[in-house]
Symmetry: C3
Subunit: 361 residues, 3 copies
């Protein structure tokens, strides 16, 4: 049985053979969750053992979305006429019916790890666990994490551009994390192994409001000069991990002792939904005051407000680009992070295409 993707491989502007974050673990409880990932309508649910499965969100009986149903004894029961779908995409039963000949539906490889549900929209034979993005902080008690998810109506690559060029903080986030010195500090972009890395260092600056909050949270003076840094790391298919932080000035900056700094990793998983929309999983992992749950909530709320500012800009940028599809944009030094990341994406897509062609001949 073969399943054709909804959007043909040639056209889709994302790699298919990769682990994408589909949901947070908390989003999949007792009820199934329907969500479109990389152009595919999927339903996620936990079977009896709590393990998450992902299937096509389409009942083979009459085409109802399975995500409207419920879970019973490890199967997903269609909410329309009671067809019981197994985790393996085969109908396990249906009242009064022999289901042996029912056509299977597509399943998607899934892994639950680090508090996220990861899905592989492409060729299941390639879905090796060791291709999962590793998040060491997620399994280390020395770190705390808080985050959320936004639905954003723009090409996921505009979000990658956004995160790989933080000069926008000065303008879009002027009241929280932006400051003039971001513009002034030189930015450096390089490819290191599988990552595109863009970094910027700002010594001897006043911490902007968000970082003053973090300094207080870390039990440090929030009024004096600090050394600030931003190190953005893109990796396939569309993850951006950003090391950000401030250290009391003159103690080594990024290299300063943990006791003298407030630092964290801004975590961004950017999962395509359609060609002009995506799911944005954002969060922050930090190494200071990790037992302070109230601080986690406060930081998460502030970070959520910051990313809502990006959302408006990105959706209107998308609208403009859709209106003028042929207009070429500038690629400045500050854009190098996004440009390099897109090259890495394009190469991955091209390689998948070659593999498919080879398989077809």
């Amino acid at each position: 049985m073969e399943f054709s993707p909804l959007i043909s491989d040639e056209k889709a502007p994302w790699p298919r053979n990769a682990w994408y974050v589909a949901a947070t673990s908390a989003e999949i409880g007792d009820r199934p969750l329907g969500r479109q990932i990389c152009g595919e309508r999927m339903v996620f649910f936990r079977a009896g053992d709590g393990q998450v499965s992902a299937l096509e969100d389409f009942c083979p009986h009459r085409g109802a979305p399975l995500s409207l149903g419920f879970v019973r004894e490890g199967n997903l029961v269609c909410g329309y006429h009671g067809l019981e779908m197994g985790c393996n995409g085969r109908t396990a039963g249906m009242p009064g019916q022999r289901v042996g000949g029912f056509p299977p539906i597509r399943t998607f490889p899934v892994i639950e790890r680090y508090g996220f549900i990861w899905v592989w929209p492409g060729d299941a034979d390639e879905a090796y666990v060791d291709r999962l993005h590793h998040l060491p902080w997620a399994e280390d008690d020395g770190w705390a994490y808080g985050g959320g998810v936004y639905h954003i109506r723009c090409d996921y690559r505009l979000m990658i551009d956004n995160l790989m060029d933080l000069t926008h903080e000065t303008y879009v986030h002027a009241s929280s994390i932006g400051q003039r010195e971001i513009d002034e500090a030189p930015v450096q972009t390089r490819v290191v192994g599988d990552e595109v890395v863009t970094s910027r260092f700002m010594p001897n600056v006043i911490a902007p409001p968000f970082w003053q909050l973090a300094l207080r949270g870390a039990g440090l003076d929030d009024k004096g000069l600090v050394d600030r840094w931003q190190i953005c790391r893109f990796s396939l298919p569309s993850h951006v991990m950003i090391e950000v932080g401030v250290a009391l000035a003159g103690h080594g900056g990024y290299e300063a002792d943990n006791a003298l700094k407030a630092s964290s990793i801004v975590v961004d998983f950017i999962t395509p939904e359609t060609e002009t929309s995506h799911w944005y999983f954002w969060g922050m992992a930090r190494q200071f005051s990790v037992d302070d749950a109230a601080l986690t909530d406060t930081l998460c709320e502030q970070q959520g407000a910051v990313f809502r500012e990006d959302m408006e800009m990105l959706e209107l940028q998308q609208a403009n680009l859709s209106r003028y599809p042929d207009r070429r944009l500038l690629k400045l030094n500050i854009d190098a992070g996004g440009v390099r990341s897109r090259m890495m994406i394009d190469r991955a897509i091209a390689e998948e295409s070659l593999t498919l062609d080879a398989a077809a001949t």
Copy 2:
């Protein structure tokens, strides 16, 4: 003068030469009503004698919708510049104008009967009164009726499928009329004359909440065992009358004496609006406690809530089918009612097409 239908005959997935319910009598009061039926924009209004007319909702002067106007001396006055349109589709007058040469607009045959406005979207020469669906209960004082109308964004045939396979009650209406025994009872489908009939009998069951309410309304014990039945009757173009009821167990079930049962007819007129939307006229005609107006209201409210549950499922099913137009669905024994009904529809459409071809040669 010829009028071309908005959607060509070949493509429209409904018979055109048939009486469709366009509105309830109560919907057409002093003001005109604009409504799209089978792809045609129509305006309905009552002339001086109270008789309802249906016209194209398009003023021949400047194209304004006539439904924004008002009725005066039996004519429909356009609310833009005062053109007076007669019931016959010819302009009756206009201030300061000679209207003799104004082009006529299309009229549609209309009948008001049984509390409904019925319209014939096809060839007016074929619009014989005797082709109207007969509703004996509507003219019999031994019956009471209550109902409503919903606008539903799905192909009208998905609603026919829904009503001709009541196994969905167990899942979609679990808290009101659904019960496990529906799944378990065998279903029988046959064609009887002009009708597709699907029936199911469930002896010795506990009545679900809605039927307990009905039993109490009929002055019967609502806690004991009952015999329950469902007999769905489809007839062209898209009417589904469902005999439903419960009798105290062991007294003959469907054949039991009226005093020992609560039975009714679920009335469903399913009128296409576009290819993916329809007007759903639903209601219930009953033979018990017919003078209890409060009971009529209660039953109507409950039934309305039940049908809202269908609405959500059907609209999301439509969305899924629109997304995967080439996917084939299963046709199980429980689907036989819908499958047979669609065959009857397809045959009617094909016959109309043949007639048109013959007329054209």
Copy 3:
């Protein structure tokens, strides 16, 4: 550098070489305003000297709308990454960048006069100030003015039709300015120089509610008979100035002494946004009780309510016409004003097209 319009010249149903009202002066304050005019996305802002500029609403860096930014030292700063755009469409600066090679964006000629911002969407070389519509009352202390702006989803020419045939007042505005005698009075249409003029005179009538209000505002008896007039003047590209008023009956009507009448000019600037939407700048200039600011507010509120009635009709007329694009409409004597105005528009478009062809060969 050449800029192609978003909609090709051949297709756009409006003249491009003309001054259109883009905004009121009050709409452009400290912050930029994004608005689509004649198919072009524009951003309007005031530089340091208060002078208004109009640019393409598209940052040459990454395509963000410049209208989300802010004004600083006479430049428009992009709200995404801080590119500073000058009034001349050339990048004036950007932190850390050499901007000399940045591509310019399109500028549009702008004039601020009479309380409006006028923009020229076409060929800048043709944008002579003397082609601006002259509004003598706007610079005369003997007049008072109040007005507003509506966004209306219909072809701008439907609004011209509407204003050049006031018989609709009897139907659309029955409770404010409509009266039976409008229908009965003959209408006369003629072309006078660059204007299409449609006029109607109604001697010895009772003033409808709006005009009773105006008579009271002018200190005149509002219960007696009046002579009423309407003189609609269309001029290119899409301005309609309507002289309206009532005079105490028998004193010369339109020619009566100012002390015996309440008269005004209904001011209508109708600016295309897309092919099926426009910006409608409406207002009223009056010569009576010009110092009564409360009366200005009252009249403006009433006029706004009247024009909201047109909005509903026009948007539904547009929906009907979009549904039946091939249906021909009637052109009656009352439609002569609109018909002649459209001929003038079509001629202007054709002339622009010829000029373009000549330039191309």
